[in-house]
Amino acid sequence: MTESRAQGGGGGPTVQRMLVGAKLRRLRTDIGLTREEAAEAIRASEWKIHRLENGQVGFKQRDIVDLLRRYRVTDPAEIDELLAMAREANNPGWWQRYTDVLPQWFRAYVDLESAATLIRTYEGQFVPGLLQTDDYMRAVIRGAHLDDSAEEVGRRVRLRMARQTLLTQEHPPRLWAVVDEAALRRPVGGREVMRGQVERLLEAAKLPNVTLQVLGFDSGAHPGMVGSFSVLRFPDQELPDVVYLEHLTSASYLNKPDEVDQYLHVMESICVRAAPPERTAELLDKILDQL
């Protein structure tokens, strides 16, 4: 799908690095240089160019200047623009004030999420973070961090709430979520909390930029059983989709085409199997009745 959401604003350093990296890659391939040849211009290894182009490391201004010269970019405006983007890529994201409760591995995700135009997510165990109620969040966070103080739990909840404003801001991304029936029936935080959560989902599904599908038990075995994941899409054509996989103490970000293709295939398969969005309200009502 092509998207028309305006660029700029959100994103934070991770996405800015990816953007600068993607531009550097295009400039290099435009003149037919190998990564090895480019590396000579900045007295570095082929691996360094690889990491720069994938947005995995920060940029030194001098490296950018040298690379652009090697790539025969002479337009001062173009050079200035890229240097400015590279500087921005070294600035902290909006989540900086939550770093005490925001593990390093999750920061990049918050950046990516706030730059995405389309967030597709499959959740087998939880209600997706962007759609959780305050109480459900507390129950999940308490469940996952048994030794947190009440103060820490409060900050984690506020961070998630801050993430949720994404969906109601001007030019919001589209969230296309598939939630497994198991995640909707498990009474996280008790019956009352869960009823409140399902009611919240009924409301969220009415938002014009939220699509919610329920993957019912009647689907039997399905490719998503390997685990929850998200696919993030960005407005810039040169940025590949990023697959996000969360683990207990870390997360993986996949953006190699063959890996993204496989997860996108699984996501398509899940979306095709799940009940269509126009049935979501009916299914949630039924679950609510039985809670």
């Binding site: 092509t2 998207e3 590949p240 293709d261």
Partner: protein, 264 residues
């Protein structure tokens, strides 16, 4: 409900998505898309020209012809602006039924092509080879009032059928038009060998090699789809020349015929 999907073979909707700069495509789709770009270097721009025609035709039908209902067959992967967005910008109550035979396209359409407020959108998984299954589908009968005019959109889809198919593509179009009220419209774009036979033949070879039927048709054959209808000005023209927002520098660079006609 649980249609199996196959991304190992190229699918025309995803090949189109690639040309339009979308990211909902897979290696087999990209491979064919690239081969066809080798055959026709202007392929991406041609795909964009088709989307632009779709917008202009729907805007014309909604604004100038007063059409409030649309049947879009061969919807493809959603690409902004979509038919209901264009129609509802003119007439907020406009209703659109999207039809495609690909489960992935349908999942995307259902997720992303939802209407605001007064208007309505519905989705049908069906094949143009069974036009009756489209017409009789409950989603169509619940969404469209066939006593009122309908804009039937067949944009870049008829080339996937051969003259020897049963029914043949001319019969498919006739069957779809048959129950539509007088004052309904038909909009078509169709690739053609007329502008560059050599490049077009190479594109056909690439498509057939990948198992995708592709039948470009000369102008007279494209006009045949409009039999019994009254073509609106400027008639069947190169896709870039049909009521353009800006006159095209060279209309012959996009190898598609386009036309819109009214059912008397």
């Amino acid at each position: 409900m649980s249609e199996e999907i196959n991304t190992n073979v190229a699918h025309p909707a995803r090949v189109y998505d690639y040309w339009l700069g979308g990211k909902d495509n897979f290696p087999a789709d990209r491979a064919l898309a690239e081969l066809m770009i080798q055959a026709i270097p202007n392929m991406r721009a041609m795909a964009a020209a088709n989307r632009a025609f779709l917008s202009r035709a729907v805007r014309y039908l909604a604004a100038d012809a007063g059409v409030r209902q649309f049947l879009d067959v061969g919807t493809g992967i959603p690409t902004s602006p979509n038919v209901h967005e264009v129609a509802q910008a003119v007439a907020p109550g406009a209703r659109v039924v999207y039809v495609d035979n690909d489960p992935i396209v349908l999942a995307h359409a259902r997720a992303l092509l939802t209407s605001q407020d007064a208007g309505e959108t519905a989705f049908i998984m069906a094949d143009l080879r069974q036009p009756k299954s489209i017409l009789d589908h409950p989603a169509l009968t619940q969404t469209l009032d066939l006593r009122q005019p309908v804009g039937l959109l067949l944009v870049a889809v008829l080339m996937y059928f051969r003259d020897g198919d049963t029914p043949n593509p001319f019969e498919m179009v006739a069957t779809l038009l048959e129950p539509l009220a007088p004052g309904s419209y038909l909009a078509i774009t169709h690739p053609t060998p007329d502008f560059n036979a050599e490049e077009t033949a190479r594109a056909v070879a690439a498509a057939e090699q990948a198992g995708v039927t592709l039948v470009p048709r000369p102008r007279a054959e494209v006009e045949r789809f409009f039999s019994g209808l009254d073509l609106v000005e400027p008639g069947v023209t190169p896709v870039l020349s049909w009521r353009p927002d800006e006159p095209p520098a060279d209309p012959s660079v996009a190898y598609y015929w386009a036309g819109v006609a009214r059912k008397p």
